[in-house]
Every structure is written in C-alpha cells, then in structure tokens.
C-alpha cells in the first residue's frame, strides 16, 4: 500500500515539530507555509541575509532549534515555503505560490495555522501610529525597525511586558505599559501559574527588567484613548482610581490577547465549540489533536491559544496520533512524556487565561462614531442600529445587513469586537450571537488568467 499523503499547514512551532515527528516515522510530510522561512510569527526570521542578533531574547535557543528542523531533515520532508493554503474542500488544498495557483490532495492533514492579535476598537484606534502588539513585534523582529521613538503599550495579555521589554532593549523610549485587566486577577492565579515555574520566572524577569528601564506596568486601567491630528500624539487613560493621565507618544502598540486562525478548520467542516474564557469559537480538538473530521488534526495556537511551548508539544503529540491512525509504529515513551508535559501546560494556560480576562468593559466605551470594521469603514453606531432596528440577532445576519466581515480581512480583525458589541446591545451572552462563517479564500488572492 502506498504511503498516505500527510499535509501540514503552518511552519511555526506546532507545524515544524509535527513534520519532524512524521518524518521520523518514515513518512514524507508536505509542510506548507506562507512565509519565506520557518518559525511562524513567534520565531519569525528576518529576511534572508539580514542578521538580528539577540532578537529572540531568552527564547533564542528554542527559536534556533525550530529554524533548524526543516533544513536538517533535508529531503525527508517536502517543505513548501511562500505557499498560501487559501481553501480546503474535501481532500484538496488550494494553493497560491509565487508562480501562481496550484492544489494538493491529501490523506491526512494537520492544521497548525497559528494566531493573530485580537483587535478591540478604542477611541482613536484608527489613527496612524497605532499598531497591534504583534505588528509592533514583527516590525522589530523581521524588519529591525521600531513603530516609533516614544512608544506606549496598552492592552491585556502576557505578551505586553515582553514586547515592552524588547522595545526598551532595542533602544526605544517606552513611555507607558498599561494593562486594562486587574492585578488581582493575576495574584489569584498564582498557584496555577506555578505549575510552569520556569515560564512564570521568565515573566517575572521581564517585569523586573522593565523596572530597571523604569517601566512599571499600570494594572486595572479603566479607559484608554489615542489622540492626535493625523498621527497619534498622546495616549490618554484613566487609572484604576479614575484619575486621567495624558502621555505624549508617537506610537501605540495595543493588544487584547490573541485569536486562533480557524478558517481552514471551519472550511473543513470541523465542529466548533465556544470557549468561555477566551470568548471565541474554536474547533473541537481531543487532547491528542484529533478534530471532529476524520483524518484532520489540529495543533498549536490555531486550535486554541496555548503559546509556543505548548504548540511544540502539541505538534509532536498530534503527529503521534496521526501515525497511530495510519498504523505506523509510534513512540510509546514519547507519547507518555508528551501527555504529562501537556497536562502541566494546560493548567498553566488556564491560570494565564484567567489572569488576563477579556476586557469586555471596553466595548461599552466605544462611541457610535468609532470605526469597528476598518476594511469597510463600518461604525459601532451602524452595528448598534442594525442590532436594534433591523432584527440582527446573529453575526451572519449582522454581516448581511451592515457588511461587517465582508471586507479585505473577512472579519478576522473586526469579527470578535462586532460579536461582543452585538451581544451587549441585544443583552445576551456573546456565545448566542454565533460566529461569522468562513468563506474562501482565507486571505485575498489575485485575479489571474489561465496562464499567469
């Protein structure tokens, strides 16, 4: 019998480790990735020829290890960089490569599609100079540039102090680090966070280093707005006591956590469940990585936010589940070791999620005139009106009536915020307004003729 065709989408920590494990079992996986070089977003590499020593900080060894896997495996894997998988239907992947369109059939598929910033509108968020935190980090890691000279960091999530630290180390003037979640939420999660003592220690180290840079994190920030004419000039915030402060800056990096890139899982027909802590719909996944669609597996942040270390573990574990399903000799010791490590990681992640609850209170502060969907220029007021006046009680109906989620990003940026806003207006839980259906392509593709 011919070897099954194993395809993997995404060459971040999860996809790379999955490919390695499948290759070790003697199958030759096809590893698709949008980027020019492996690493995903977290271990993103600078363009070929550009060296950026020290950009991965404490994670340098992990980053370099991930980067080495594909080259070291040589022809034991079929690595296809610069390839966007833009659609999935039955057993076929539709591809966009620099030379044009293509497709690939598969027997087994691992989706390791990663995550992106979760955007949340706030007054002034569309001003030039306001970036997502991930955007700010990629500017530094890949292009070696900062988003500004005087940078304010604001949002919720464990990456906030990390990126602030990276900017300070790179020589930027970090003028504020504002956390919109309460400090108490973090303290109460300390026992769970202790399950991954090394990771917690790193977080504390970044916080301590930030203190050396005279950067104290302000917790429990109640309201934020960016101000400026034609360009951000200041970040204004109300602290936990209600006092208003104005900090001059020329750039703002904002992050409200991460969202999983689930479009391919949706197009594959995976069953989704609502995750009440992360407040997003996610494809169902067993601890071993199986989805609800036979032959389709999920690993890493694309299925649920777990971070890079968890992604590596899940990538390996998911590959072992796949190998078991195609009757290839597995590695029993490795399976047990991974299951133990994954259980510890899961406790840590749960505590971390609870430490950074989604700041739903910011949604109410979004004025009617504020743009929620930047692709289509749709305001919060237009969404609220459709929800109130036009019976829009569900996300796809809201989309039909207002165009929310119909622009270039297809709702990847605005979808969560719109769902929160719709739920608040209707007085229901965000879960009950549903989610935008994925439609191909998962990212824009060009109009090309038959001979591109």
């Amino acid at each position: 019998m011919a070897d099954p065709i194993v395809a993997i989408v995404g060459a971040g920590p999860a996809g790379v480790r999955a490919a390695e494990m499948v290759a070790r079992a003697g199958l030759k996986p096809i590893l698709f990735d949008e980027a020019e070089q492996p690493g995903g977003q977290i271990y993103r590499q600078p363009p070929k020829g550009a060296a950026r020593p020290g950009i991965y900080g404490l994670e340098t060894k992990k980053a370099e290890a991930i980067h080495r896997v594909a080259p070291d495996l040589g022809n034991r894997i079929d690595y296809r960089p610069q390839t966007l998988v833009w659609n999935l239907f039955e057993d076929r992947l539709d591809l966009l490569r620099p030379e044009g369109y293509g497709d690939q059939r598969f027997d087994r598929l691992i989706l390791a599609t990663g995550a992106m910033d979760r955007a949340l509108p706030f007054p002034g968020w569309t001003l030039p100079g306001v970036f997502t935190l991930g955007g700010a980090q990629i500017a530094l890691k890949a292009q070696g540039v900062a988003i500004g000279r005087r940078v304010a960091f604001v949002g919720a999530g464990p990456l906030l102090p990390l990126v602030a630290h990276q900017y300070a180390e790179a020589g930027a003037d970090v003028v504020a680090v504002l956390d919109v979640t309460p400090f108490l939420a973090k303290l109460s999660q300390l026992p769970g966070l202790m399950t991954e003592a090394a990771t917690l220690a790193k977080g504390l180290w970044y916080t301590a280093r930030n203190r050396l840079h005279r950067l104290t994190v302000q917790y429990g920030v109640r309201a934020i707005r960016a101000e400026g004419s034609g360009q951000v000039e200041a970040l204004v915030y109300r602290d936990k006591s209600g006092a208003e402060h104005r900090i001059a800056c020329d750039a703002v990096a904002a992050s409200f956590g991460l969202r999983s890139e689930t479009q391919l899982a949706d197009l594959a027909g995976c069953r989704f469940v609502f995750d009440p802590i992360g407040r997003q719909w996610l494809p169902e996944r067993t601890p071993e990585g199986r989805s609800t669609v036979p032959g389709l597996y999920l690993a890493g942040d694309g299925a649920r936010i777990g971070g890079a270390d968890m992604a590596e573990l899940q990538g390996r574990r998911t590959a072992l589940a796949l190998l078991e399903d195609v009757a290839r000799p597995g590695e029993a010791d490795e399976t047990a070791r991974l299951d133990g490590a994954l259980a510890r990681q899961a406790r840590f992640r749960k505590a971390l999620e609870n430490a950074y609850p989604f700041p739903a209170h910011l949604i109410d502060a979004v004025a009617d005139g504020e743009i929620v969907c930047r692709c289509e220029g749709i305001t919060a007021g237009a969404l609220r009106e459709a929800a109130r006046e036009k019976d829009a009680g569900e996300m796809n109906r809201l989309k039909a009536l207002t165009r929310i989620g119909m622009g270039r990003c297809q709702g990847r940026v605005c979808g969560h915020a719109a769902a929160e806003l719709l739920a608040r207006v209707r007085g229901v839980e965000v879960e009950s307004v549903g989610r935008l259906r994925a439609q191909p392509p998962v990212k824009p593709i060009p109009v090309l003729g038959s001979a591109p």
Binding site: N87, F89, R92, D94, Y101, D103, E376, K390, D391, E394, N396, R397, A400, L401, R403, M406, G407, R408, Q410, Q439, P440, P441, P444, I445, P446, V447, L448, G449, S450
Partner: protein, 383 residues
C-alpha cells in the same frame, strides 16, 4: 407543547417571493404565517448576483419582469429603507457575428413586450465601456436594467411583512403539510398552522413540498459560483453579461467588482453549498478576457448558493393541479431575484381573486406531467 396558529394563508419559504407575498397579502387584509427554515432572504434570494435584469430573459417571463421592474422603482419607498437598487443599465456583449445576430433577434422580440434595447456596434460599445478586452464585437444595452443588494432585499421585505402584521417564523422549517377537509395543516417543530391557503415558495425545497400533495415537479439544483474583489475605483459603470451567459460582472457603489460564472457544489438535503475552485479560476480567466484591467486585483471572497431549476429554466407559478388552494412559485432557475417583487403580488392576486393580471400559462406545473426526474445541471446562464 405544540403551538397552534390559524391564518388565512401559510407560506413555506421566506425568500423574496415568499416575503413579498406576505406583504401583498397583508396589504389586502389577509392573515399570514410564514415559515422560513433559516433566516429570511438568506437562501438563493440573498446570495445571488443581484441582477435586476429584463434583457435576455425567456420571452414568457418578460410580462412579469416588466411589471416587477415598475415595483423596483418604488421598492425603497415601500419598504422604508434603501436596498441599493440602481438602474445602471445592463449591457449584453457579443463576441462573434452569430452573437450579434442573436442580440438583434432578441431585441426585436423584446420590443413586442415594450422592452426597448439599444443595439451598439463595436465602436459604440467601446465608447460605452472603454476598458473592454479585444474579443467584443458589439452589444445590446437595456438602460433601465440594473442591480440591487440581494443581502438587503429579502430581510427588508421580511421586516416590512412583520410590521404589517404577518407572523414570520425564522429557523422554523416546515416538516409536513396536508389537506384536512377544507383546510391545510402545516407542521413545523412544536408548531401547527391551520390555513385555507398554502403557498409553496420553498426554493430548492419546493419539490419536496409539491410532493406532499402528489405533484410531480422535476426540480434540480443550480449552484451559481461567485467571486468578489476588494473595492476598486469605479469603472464598470454597467452591469455586464455576455451571449452564452458564461460570465457576468458588475461593480457595486462601494467599489467591489462581483463576477459570476460556472457552477459551485451544493447539497440540497444538507442545505449547503460551496464555491468550486476550478470554476472560480476559470471564471477569473473569462472575466479577464472581458475586463483585462482586473488582472491582479484581490479576490476577497467567493461563494455559492442553491436555487431550484426547472428543465426549461422558467419557473412554476400558479395553482396546484392536484390540490385546491395550493399555490406554487418556485424553480426560478437562478434568475428569480428581479421577479421576486411581482411574484409576491401575483400570489396575492391568485389568493384574493383566483386569477392574476399577468399571463401565467407558460408557468403551469402541468407542463411537467409525467416528468418526475430532475434535469441535468445547466451551465452558461446569466443570473
């Protein structure tokens, strides 16, 4: 516990035709319950190309299309909201002399129905659409045709019907209906409706409803495949089709260029459809032949939707041949959007007066007597 409702009329299917029927019936003072399996206007009515087109229709449909076109002019006022209807004109392109002859012949036939088409030679066509690719030899223009936003029309009709007092139930698929004495009993989950009349505007599900009354309706699925670009500077000033119908293009006011062509994949039983990549890529190539300037533009979304198609590609509209007081309107074969408003009025006429002001003979269900099989899927028809 099962809820029981009584009304003069039960309507199965909340597309434009069903919702427009609810509106027309309410305006005549008749009580209505409408059952929609999903959301009103989210099926074929909501995911089509949005063409409000008379040109190129089967001649039998032209009297209805002429009447519907008048409604389109006052639709926004009637519904109390904008549905983005614009009479951009519809231009049908000829890519050969044979195409040109076909257009001229059609223009003559259409004139007899009062539809005025303007014939354009190669130079006039190019003056009209200077960005056209080299394959075009001429065209015919219907200045009063245009397009509307299909996502808005059905929901707007449904809300208007509700404001007029219709009982509109969404997420309520009809499970069964039968004749009980002088009445119909229609069942949805936890709901039974008793009514004197039953209207079948169930789209792709209409064949099943007809079957409950022993009526043969060879209804097959037709799944148009569509693509849309990101917003571009306005340049496609007309809604554009071609002879043969294998590609059609328009640009919305927002700037997005919508292109259709080919067939998607659909499963009527699962009520699901998907665009098909090879069809989308072929559609891109055909569109580029007509509109070379679109090369490299970003496609941000592709989609498909399922409509019911009859073997002769014109709908069934009229009374059932087996069951008194059962009215059918289905099988619009992928081009029912423009007709929806008038079909609602026709259904109300049939119920209130027993006859319609429009000629319905070509749409009688009896034309399919003895034909229970669905037709093969068609290709090359403009939607």
């Amino acid at each position: 516990m099962t809820e029981r409702l009584t009304a003069d009329v039960t309507i199965i299917g909340g597309g434009v035709a069903g919702c427009a029927a609810a509106v027309a019936l309410r305006r005549a003072g008749i009580t209505v319950v409408l059952l929609e399996k999903g959301m009103c206007g989210a099926g074929a009515s909501g995911v089509n190309f949005g063409g409000v087109r008379q040109q190129g229709r089967n001649l039998a449909e032209l009297p209805l299309a002429r009447r519907s076109r008048e409604i389109w002019d006052r639709l926004a006022e009637m519904l109390g909201e904008d549905v983005e209807f614009q009479a951009t004109g519809h231009i049908k392109l000829a890519r050969s002399d044979a195409d040109m002859e076909e257009l001229e012949r059609y223009a003559g036939d259409a004139a007899a129905h009062g539809l005025k088409l303007q014939m354009l030679g190669a130079n006039a066509t190019r003056a009209e659409l200077p960005w056209l690719g080299p394959k075009v030899v001429g065209a015919s223009l219907c200045a009063e045709d245009g397009a509307a936003n299909p996502r808005l029309v059905g929901p707007a009709y449904a809300r208007f019907a509700r404001r007029l007092g219709a009982e509109v139930r969404e997420q309520a698929p009809a499970i069964a209906a039968e004749r009980a004495g002088e009445h119909f009993e229609t069942r949805a989950e936890a709901l039974t409706i008793t009514s004197r009349f039953l209207v079948n505007t169930a789209g792709i599900g209409a064949g099943k409803v007809a079957g409950w009354f022993g009526e043969e309706a060879p209804l097959g699925p037709v799944v148009p495949n569509m693509l849309v670009t990101e917003p571009l500077p306005a340049f496609v000033t007309r809604s554009v089709g071609v002879c043969g119908g294998d590609v059609y293009v328009r640009q919305v006011a927002r700037g997005n260029v919508i292109m259709g062509g080919g067939r998607g994949w659909g499963d009527a039983d699962l009520n699901t459809s998907r665009p098909v990549t090879d069809q989308s890529l072929a559609g891109m190539a055909k569109t580029l032949d007509l509109v070379p300037a679109l090369k490299g533009a970003s496609i941000i979304r592709t989609w498909a939707g399922i409509d019911g198609e009859m073997p002769d590609r014109i709908p069934v509209i009229g009374f059932s041949a087996t069951t008194p007081n059962l009215v059918h309107a289905f099988g619009f074969s992928g081009h029912g959007f423009q007709l929806g408003p008038v079909v609602g009025e026709i259904i109300a006429e049939l119920i209130t007066e027993g006859r319609s002001a429009s000629p319905l003979e070509p749409f009688a269900i009896t034309r399919f007597a003895g034909m229970a099989e669905a037709p093969p899927a068609s290709a090359g028809v403009e939607h």
